[in-house]
Symmetry: C2
Subunit: 186 residues, 2 copies
DNA sequence: TTCATTTGATTGAGTAATCAACGACTATCA
DNA sequence: TGATAGTCGTTGATTACTCAATCAAATGAA
């Protein structure tokens, strides 16, 4: 295996294996992207863990439930809404249930089904966590960017989402959706 | 706790608690960003796991080692280079050592220190994994974006990194760095 | 009806990440 | 020299995520 093949000097080109290696600029972009995403979500998680005792993934579950009619969601819907596998949703809800923030109910229309329901305590915890979390998102995402850059984040995110082949970016609910006073998330 | 306080109707404003809630547009941006990052890195990990039997975090360790002089790095340097804790680096290197891709050596100048060294087998595994990984990165990040948007990714990532307060985006090494034929990464 | 298929959700095993605690060594300064 | 503080790296416990297997109920075709 030759070095030339493995290390084409950061020039934009295709080698004998047909690989379209990254150019020097693309390397910079890629590493900046990976590094910033890592640092960003680590900071989000650290703040939430410290101030609310939960990671972002759990926070998102509480948010989706808070936005749902009657604060209830079928397990499968919850999994889809949080971009998680059914297994992950099931495990996570089990933990949240231990803390008393979520409760499981039998689905009245499908005896296989389960409804995850946000408890009053869960709602209170979410409401208490929201301001600090939103402030953290603002400080590290919106404040450092210009309005044009924020718009670009939306456009770029949508393009990546489409390329990855995922359903679509998860929209916040409409106000007439029947959601019962959701916490403003994010 | 009032709903008005918790759910200010997606208008941009500050409520009585002083929280700067997200506007409707910001909600869309935030959810698109979170969703696309999640989907993107999940796809990257899926491809690497399927075709090379390792997650991105392990791939990055092999890349940093491949770029280092003598393919060696002190554990602390490796942790910094991969934006990981020492603990995480230590655990990860232990797994990679079990697979024979990395070897530990005593540091000659500091008897507390350990050097993680990429083995020939590890290098071969990395070289074999690189084309598929780079192709995945291209398909899901660079191909769907315009050159201007790619440039914006760099600028925006740098701004976020600075706001998070992390050292700086990890640069790819210069060619005169003494690196021993690194795999082109990412 | 009966049987096969699909869907809904959970479980358990295996792997990975975090956190706090620790042992070993170095550096500094009296 | 000796005491103290700091650095290097590992360990073990806890928690989280993934994957494959499983069970139960609904669906649909013969």
């Amino acid at each position: 295996m030759s070095n030339a093949q493995l290390f084409p000097g950061y020039t934009e080109r295709v080698d004998t294996s047909g690989t379209r290696w990254l150019s020097a600029d693309e390397q910079v972009t890629w590493r900046a992207f990976v590094g910033s995403c890592h640092a960003f979500f680590a900071a989000i998680d650290t703040q939430l863990q410290r101030d609310a005792g939960m990671p972002l993934a759990y926070y998102e579950i509480l948010v989706r439930l808070s936005e749902a009619p009657d604060r209830q969601l079928r397990m499968t819907q919850l999994a889809e809404a949080t971009a998680a596998s059914k297994s992950r949703a099931s495990h996570a809800v089990a933990r949240l249930e231990e803390r008393g923030w979520v409760r499981r109910r039998d689905c009245p229309t499908d005896r296989r089904g389960q409804l995850a329901e946000l408890t009053d305590e869960g709602y209170a915890v979410l409401a208490a966590a929201a301001p600090g979390h939103v402030e953290q998102v603002r400080r590290t995402l919106f404040d450092p960017l210009t309005p044009e850059q924020v718009q670009q984040v939306t456009v770029i995110s949508t393009a990546i989402m489409a390329a990855v082949g995922s359903p679509q970016p998860c929209e916040p609910p409409c106000e007439e959706d029947g959601a019962s006073c959701p916490v403003p998330a994010p």
